[in-house]
Symmetry: C2
């Protein structure tokens, strides 16, 4: 097959693949729920965090919640506007990592990658912790067992993902639309009741909130600013997941970029509507919500302490309880759907983490083996790592969303900010080569939007770092630093190895002589096969080697050798200490030293078994020998396998496994083919 | 090198080895302590157990302790007499396992092996638990932390043995002689003070013992018999370790058998003397000793309850405290030396366990890889397994010697009994071919002694099983059954595999054609080397294979291939799902299917790295590919290693390691060369 043919074949292969892909492109109505679960689900906890932060200064501070909500909405719409530019500029689904790498260089890319890795872990931890609070709200029996519920949920998600169960577009669409229906329906009905004047108060409406120690009395300007900044930072949790669509452009139907941009805008509007509606209703229903650790700051209207065992339910749960006070199924519907959407949001991290790992691996920032898809092992490693890290976070922070949220938002805004900066560079570079005034105008407009976005996200990032550093953001920053250093280290290592391995004309020189050694432990089928194979390679010298640890067995083998008229000489290496590996290694080394331009070919007969426990009973010495021989220069190690009947079990299992991974990949392709950078060349 | 030469070389090798061994043979004065620590150390806990069992019926039952002691002494001397016969019959150091296997067949041998494996674990657990009680006796601060002390001791022993620290004869001799000096000196001095009439009472002398519930009032004949039988069973713990010398005959100076027999007798006499002296002194000093869980059965002379925090010290500690009441250093000396000898006893198990594993592996009863000595990995596995099992026992039984002893003695007497039975068969077989009347008379005498020994040990075994079954012996029997089944299963598996692998003339047929494939991931040194090596094997077809997952990289490689004028065609396999392993496996399979009498030789370029973490960054795909290819019939897998500079680190480490193991083996040879079955052909 000539090189030209080969190229054609590649093209053909790719064509075939592209045509397959055509069938799986997503219309907007499916794309929205597929990419929205993460972003929309944050309405389940973001408003709560705003109220908790404001409550520090007492219930009167709740008056500011409107303003906080509006500020978050402005940031949200700015970010949406910015990403709409990204979507047009990178129709291949660049993602923050690629935008930063391409436009700002490797270090920025690695920084974004670190932030994304940390964020995947936190998405799982926060979403599942929040879900466990909703579950406990619906089933009071589980109150106090949130950590266990959350850990069980993560383990279940892990098992599902390890088993290769992949969600299809429909799998996403139904609960996401149900969630929109539930929240918007609840808010709509609540607002209707508000207009009719029969909106009931929340269960916590009559409670008083003592300000936290140090926040009593009229606040100074600085204290108030800090308080509002902190509440705003927490509210910005609503923005997590907005960037998902920009990764998924290739999965959209044509015109891809325009459809993606429209979907993004839609997502932003729905998210803002949901959040603002929740805040409005919470205010109208006089919800009282404080840090779950400081429930003693709540008092009854009469000023006395709360009864022991008072349970504070999430804001959405309190609203649902009030709005649907005559219709309990509505309450349970809202809680259930919210729990489900939070679990779905966590699941997106389980999908995204290994994909990011694979991209990083291809860029030499992660172990290269993670880069091959369909590779069950690498994929599993990523999933297990993500699960382990998030379980640690859940356990350490007792599944308390409020505490985890302190860690969450730094990473998101680091990647937002660097991504915007990258986009500005991108437009500037494009403008330098663009002459068409219409295009230039559009680019300048895009650059202006991204510049505004950069300013906004950078300010938010600074605010977040200042207000949350001690509360937990330092952990995130530390973790990001750790990931950063590891990735840089890996990259440096690969570069060093590549330099050491750079090809050289001298490397093409053929060895002058092949001295073949067949290891004979016994005279059985594998040995005979190895001898036959070795002969077939026509070496210059061929001999069999036996390591003698027992004279009786040695003599038996020598006799058998003669009886069977084996025409290959058998050399016995004496091993007084029953060592097998060392004498062979030394012998091979000696041959090579005597003839440094030749090669030693060591043939190792092996028999292949199928059951896991059989591994412990066979080939251990062969394995050690092969490993050890790899360190000897000028030695080739040839495994000549003999397949025992039981090996078929393993082969069939492998084949089944491979087919399943393959099928899983096809199905997965339906939903997030966009994050697969291979689609558009 | 001809076959004849080879045989000579083997003989030469063995001769050299035997001459080396001559220098390390042990005189009796060194052999005694080397083999005695396990047997002698049991005096530290066996008398205590007798007193505990008798105390069930109140202090008055202590009157029977003399008789129990005498009964144990009779069994001890009988066993010694029996093993003196074994020593003469098996100067090669047969050991119970070999005696049983040779004379009674494989099942008996496997039974003995199971018993020995369980006993090694229990030797560690019992000795270390007892040692921790002595340590707590000397350092009252540690009272209540015996489990922690014991676990730390096992971990320390494990680390020591994993590091390859081996004791020399002297290492054993000094503490063992000090222990004899301490116990015999203490007893001698105590008896002297007894004669002079100034032997003080023990600290516990004035206490009263309530009989255990159900044992009050005058005992029935049956109850009394059961009580004494149980106390006797516990006392038989003194016999553990007596068989050690019979394994070690080859390590003695000539006349080996006679010297070993003399040492054995000496050991028996010293052990009996120690035990009886301790029992006599304990009685004279009115020691009161009950199950540590039933301290509430102890009352003061006035009949009131004991003060809280009363600590019961081991019998030897109480005797030492009394005898050396004016000389505290004597007390501390006795306790320290006793603790040390117990740890040494545990260490003998750490030495013996892997050796037994290696013998079992050679007989196809354990994974074959355990059979190669100097094999650090196999050796380590045995040590870690032993440590883990004994730590589990220590933790489960809270380091309480009294409870562990219930598990201990069954295994010992199973192997005693089967060994005696084997010896009877041995003599009967020998008598059948012996004509010389003098020899016949000697053999008949030996057989009579072994028959008496069999009767004695069988009775004790039955007594032990009856009296201890529910108290814990069932665990031992279960564990022995487990080991038995595993060993039989392994043996059956090896037999099946051997049958499947039996050589056949057809297996000598040479493949007609070699189709060589070189995997090219990049065009670097390893690939060029693999190409050169592959060419040197002169295959019928040679081609390079590249699995394409990315068109850019593919085109780059194709260009490079042309630029460098590589004269091997490069074939590109398209992999739409970024899988690397499967396309290669499928391709190799297709070639083989097209030509079933040919062979596919897959050359895998690998680069060898040295640091542990580098393993994660390289060759993972190569490893998976090689593993997967082993399952394909008619495929040879050739690793062509390229050694990176960092690989030297690993090679040097391996060499150092190998040298150390080797040196360790030499040193170890000094002390228990006898258990190495290779010495006398």
């Amino acid at each position: 097959m000539s090189v030209g043919n080969v190229s054609k074949r590649i093209l053909l292969g790719r064509k075939l693949r592209s045509s397959q892909l055509g069938e799986t492109l997503l219309p907007k109505r499916v794309a929205l729920p597929v990419f929205a679960s993460d972003a929309l689900s944050s309405v389940a906890y973001a408003p709560d965090e705003v109220f908790i932060m404001l409550a520090v200064a007492g219930a009167s501070a709740y008056a500011f919640s409107w303003w906080i909500g509006l500020a978050v909405a402005v940031v949200m719409l700015t970010v949406v506007a910015s990403y709409r530019q990204t979507v047009h500029a990178y129709p291949s689904g660049g993602g923050d990592y690629e935008v930063a790498t391409v436009n700002l260089g490797r270090n920025a890319g690695v920084t974004v990658a670190s932030a994304l890795l940390v964020d995947y872990v936190l998405t799982v931890a926060v979403s599942i912790s929040s879900a466990s609070q909703y579950v406990a709200g619906a089933f009071p029996l589980l109150i106090g067992h949130e950590v266990a519920v959350a850990v069980v949920a993560v383990v279940a998600l892990t098992a599902m993902n390890l088993r290769g169960v992949r969600e299809s577009g429909t799998f996403f669409a139904v609960p996401t639309y149900l969630f929109m229906l539930a929240i918007l329906g609840m808010c709509g009905y609540g607002l209707l009741r508000l207009l009719q004047g029969d909106l009931p108060m929340a269960e916590s409406a009559n409670l008083q909130i003592d300000p936290a120690p140090g926040w009593e009395g009229p606040l100074s300007q600085i204290a108030l600013t800090f308080l509002l900044a902190r509440a705003f930072s927490s509210g910005c949790a609503a923005l997590t997941g907005v960037e998902a669509i920009s990764n998924g452009v290739p999965a959209f139907r044509k015109p891809k970029s325009r459809n993606a941009a429209t979907t993004l805008l839609l997502l932003g509007l729905i998210a803002v509507t949901m959040m603002m509606s929740v805040i409005v209703l919470a205010n109208e229903m006089s919800i009282r919500y404080v840090d779950p650790h400081e429930l003693d700051r709540l008092r009854t209207a009469a000023g006395s302490a709360l009864p022991a065992g008072y349970e504070q339910h999430p804001v959405i749960a309190q609203i649902a309880a009030g709005v649907f006070d005559h219709f309990p199924p509505g309450f349970y519907f809202v809680l259930t759907v919210t729990g489900v959407i939070l679990v779905l949001a966590a699941n997106t991290a389980f999908n995204g983490f290994p994909v990011l790992g694979s991209i990083l691996a291809q860029d030499g920032l992660a172990p290269r083996s993670l880069g091959s898809r369909g590779d069950r092992l690498a994929y599993s490693n990523g999933i297990v790592f993500l699960a382990a890290m998030s379980i640690i976070l859940i356990v350490v922070f007792r599944a308390e969303t409020t505490k985890l949220i302190q860690l969450y938002i730094v990473g998101v805004f680091v990647s937002f900010t660097l991504s915007q900066l990258g986009m500005i560079r991108h437009w500037s570079a494009a403008l330098r080569i663009e002459d068409d005034p219409v295009s230039r105008l559009r680019m300048q407009r895009s650059r202006a939007i991204n510049t505004f976005g950069l300013g906004m996200t950078a300010v938010v990032l600074v605010v977040v770092i200042i207000t949350k550093f001690l509360a937990g953001a330092w952990i995130t920053i530390l973790a990001m630093g750790g990931f950063f250093l590891v990735m840089k280290g890996i990259s440096r290592h690969y570069a060093l190895v590549e330099a050491e391995l750079a090809a050289d004309e001298a490397d093409k020189v053929m060895p002058t002589r092949v001295h073949a050694i067949v290891l004979a432990a016994k005279l059985h089928k594998p040995t005979l096969r190895a001898l036959a194979f070795a002969k077939a390679t026509r070496p210059n010298v061929l001999e069999a080697i036996y390591v003698s640890v027992d004279p009786v067995a040695t003599n038996r083998l020598l006799d058998e050798w003669d009886e069977r008229h084996i025409d290959v000489p058998l050399k016995v290496l004496h091993s007084p200490y029953r060592e097998v590996v060392r004498p062979v290694v030394d012998y091979a080394h000696a041959i090579r030293t005597a003839n440094p331009r030749g090669v030693v070919a060591v043939f190792v007969p092996e028999y292949v078994v199928g059951r896991w426990w059989e591994q412990f009973l066979h080939n251990q010495t062969a394995l050690r020998l092969k490993t050890r021989l790899l360190f000897s220069p000028g030695v080739m190690v040839i495994s000549v396998p003999y397949q025992l009947r039981s090996s078929e079990i393993a082969r069939e299992r492998e084949d089944r496994e491979a087919r399943r991974v393959h099928a899983g990949d096809l199905r997965r392709g339906r939903v997030r083919v966009g994050s697969d950078r291979q689609i558009e060349p």
